[in-house]
């Protein structure tokens, strides 16, 4: 079976020293060593894990919510009641989040209204007014405020702050009672206003810190130019610092708002909750999502827990919307704020 072959021996492949396109790409990225590959894998994995966790939380909330809502005989969005065990209605579950939406948003807004001006003031003082020896300790104390656990704020609020607010509330009632918002009918001052005041103290550090960082990044040229034009210090701040820092202040406020919306144990300790909506923020009653979950979870049966989880989903969505809105505002402001100068 010896067949002669005429075909010439195949030529040895030409050694080509030039890198293939793929290799070029890799070289450009500079990621060929094992350390680089491992780090790439780790960081990519972390990113994917974050998304997976968020998706898992959302899926869990959505599933349990659907279980709860299927049997709810009240209107989930308008019912002023929380009775998933159906105690007052022959075992038919009745619950709704109207009171919780109202309480959560109102207390957070009160907190922002109080905290933002104070925080911006502190940040400006630290970054532009205070002598260096004073600025560092103040900044440190502010950091420390952030480290106090919320149960401590709650206890302090319930034992010290709330009992001493009676005077302030009576004063507000005397002068602003006619608005309806500041009517005070007596009783222990454990209202949404009290919660707002406490939340304001709790979110002060985060707003102050972020604002301070932004104010410190204002280009020296801008400030010096304003000074050269004969501006006073306040005018420098108004013309150079605040416009530059505006988007920073907004994102700082949104971070603070995020904390205020989700604050749990401090609110549960200070508020006197009940399922009513008062026109006046000084009257006891109302409730927030996180407080309601904390108060009801341990004694709730399985269905009661599903109902609480349904309210948790709403808080989850509200927080997402708030963060989205903050990003939109920042993105729109960026172009003329000088932040990218």
């Amino acid at each position: 079976m010896d067949i002669p072959t005429d075909t010439p021996p195949t030529p040895a492949p030409v050694q080509d020293d030039r890198p293939t396109p793929a290799e070029q790409k890799r070289a450009a990225r500079g990621a060929t060593r094992p350390g680089d590959r491992i780090f790439l894998g780790l960081s990519r994995g972390s990113g994917i894990a974050l998304l997976a966790i968020m998706a898992a939380v959302a899926a869990f909330l959505a599933y349990r919510t659907s279980v709860a809502l299927a049997d709810n005989t009240g209107n989930f969005f308008t019912t002023f009641e929380w009775d998933p065990a159906g105690i007052s209605s022959d075992g038919k579950p009745v619950f709704g989040i109207a009171v919780l939406v109202f309480g959560t948003i109102v207390s957070s807004i009160i907190a922002l209204v109080i905290a933002v001006p104070v925080a911006v003031g502190i940040a400006l003082f630290i970054s532009h007014y205070a002598p260096r020896q004073l600025a560092a300790p103040i900044a440190y104390v502010i950091d420390l405020l952030a480290a106090v656990p919320s149960i401590v704020y709650g206890l302090w609020g319930a034992i010290v702050v709330a009992p001493n607010l009676t005077g302030l509330y009576s004063w507000l009632d005397d002068y602003f009672g006619w608005t309806g918002i500041f009517e005070y009918q007596g009783g222990a001052p454990r209202s949404l206003m009290t919660v707002g005041i406490l939340l304001a103290i709790m979110i002060l550090p985060i707003i102050t810190n972020v604002s301070r960082e932004v104010f410190l990044q204002v280009p020296k040229f801008n400030e010096e130019a304003a000074l050269a034009l004969g501006a006073t210090r306040w005018e420098v701040i108004r013309m150079a610092v605040l416009p530059f820092g505006r988007s920073g202040i907004i994102s700082a406020s949104m971070l603070g708002l995020g904390r205020a919306l989700g604050e749990t144990i401090a609110v549960a300790t200070v508020l006197s909750p009940s399922f009513v909506i008062n026109a006046s923020v000084l009257d006891y009653g109302g409730g927030t999502f996180a407080q309601n979950i904390a108060s009801k979870f341990s004694e709730a049966d399985e269905y009661g827990r599903d109902a609480l989880i349904a309210s948790g989903l709403v808080l989850f969505i509200i927080t997402l919307l708030v963060n989205g809105a903050a990003r939109l505002i920042i993105a729109r402001r960026k172009e003329y704020s000088g932040a990218n100068a």
Binding site: A147, S274, V276, K296
Partner: protein, 374 residues
């Protein structure tokens, strides 16, 4: 981000503080009184029959009976070293859920099982069912803070009207009639209830509904169904409010009513008003009847007792086990522990902890039932 690097120390501090707070809240709920089990370790331990039990015994539920269980466990552990008993006071609802899922050997609960829960229990009890064993009693005191008034007598109807916001001031005629000698001020009544769901609320509203059905139209339950009124979190929370608010009134387990909180004497069907004490609670429990079917010993309290010194606002906590079909590996330990706590020594320990022992007649049935568990 520059900010993050600068604040790393603060963040670490924050993380530490947060984990610290978690640890604190994890073990800090409902710590009533002092559980002085250090001194009296040896007296009863010798009578405990370990039944050859070994291994881990998991249980969870009512936080109202936590101090009783703690005292029992301290005794039991010194006698039966081979059993590691772990009771988590997560709340009655959580305890029943864990039991029905088969995670625990028994559950503690402030209220008897509901019919649908008994139905569900047939799965974990292998076609038998779960039963309630009344084990710990306790008076629920009505604490008040009215400057200048050192003793106060109220009856069920007046209490219901106060908590329903019908009686608004302390010098109301209904209160004056019951307290002809007291100097009642004209201050507003600040009625506080629990903002969290609680067996205390459940039993207090059951009393109001049972003793004054006309004045209390709301359904009893773990959450407060009446409208209006102020609220606070936990027994310690309402106690705190009563302490610091002039004109306040609220209900709480007896052990919380101390340090400046005075308690209401209850006008019942008896001649004399009844004080909220451990002994008086036991007397009232003795007047209750069992309503559970078969081996189930769920109690229905008599809210209008006529016996002298029976204080009817009481709370009975149950241990919940399977009648038959308990898990084989924990059955011996469960029986041994329950036998001890239902026995003479176990029940005698209750008074020191501020609880009321279960009266003899009911207690005998409990012991017989425990003997028959399988």
């Amino acid at each position: 981000m520059k900010l993050q690097r600068k604040n790393r120390r603060a963040l670490t501090l924050g993380a530490l503080a947060v984990s610290g707070a978690l640890a604190l809240t994890a073990c800090g709920s409902d710590d009533t009184g002092d559980n002085g089990d250090g001194g009296k370790k040896s007296n009863a331990a010798s009578n405990i029959d370990c039944n050859g039990a070994k291994g881990q015994l998991m249980a969870s539920g009512s936080s109202a009976q936590k101090n009783a269980i703690d005292a029992w466990v301290a005794q039991y552990r010194s006698a039966c070293k081979d059993v590691q008993l772990n009771y988590k006071p997560d709340g009655s609802g959580a305890g029943i859920t864990a039991f029905l899922q088969g995670q625990t050997a028994f559950a503690g609960s402030d209220s008897a099982l509901k019919p649908e829960e008994i139905e569900k229990s047939k799965k974990v009890c292998k076609s038998s069912q779960a039963i309630d064993l009344p084990m710990v009693g306790g008076p629920i005191a009505v604490g008040y803070n009215v400057p200048g008034v050192d003793s106060l007598v109220l009856d069920a109807k007046t209490l219901a009207d106060i908590f329903n916001n019908k009686i608004k001031t302390w010098d109301d005629k209904a209160i004056e009639k019951l307290n002809p000698d007291a100097k009642l001020p004209g201050t507003k009544i600040q009625a506080f209830h629990r903002s969290d769901e609680s067996g205390t609320t459940d039993n207090f509203t059951k009393y109001l509904k049972g003793a004054a059905p006309d004045a209390w139209p709301h359904e009893p339950g773990k959450s407060w169904e009446a409208k209006g009124g102020q609220s606070a979190q936990g027994s310690s929370g309402v106690a705190q409010q009563v302490k610091q608010t002039a004109g306040a009134i609220s209900y709480m387990e007896l052990s919380y009513a101390k340090e400046g909180i005075k308690t209401v004497d209850l006008k019942t069907g008896a001649k004399e008003p009844v004080k909220a004490t451990v002994d008086n609670a036991s007397k009232a429990i003795a007047e209750s009847k069992t309503v559970g079917e078969g081996k189930d010993l769920a109690l229905e309290l008599n809210y209008k007792p006529t016996a002298e010194g029976a204080y009817p606002i009481t709370l009975v906590t149950y241990e919940i086990v399977c009648e038959k079909g308990n898990k084989a590996d924990t059955l011996a330990a469960t029986k041994s522990f329950l036998t001890y706590i239902a026995g003479q020594d176990g029940q005698a320990l209750l008074k020191d902890e501020g609880y009321a022992p279960i009266p003899a007649e009911i207690n005998t049935k409990v012991r017989d039932t425990i003997k028959a568990l399988s």
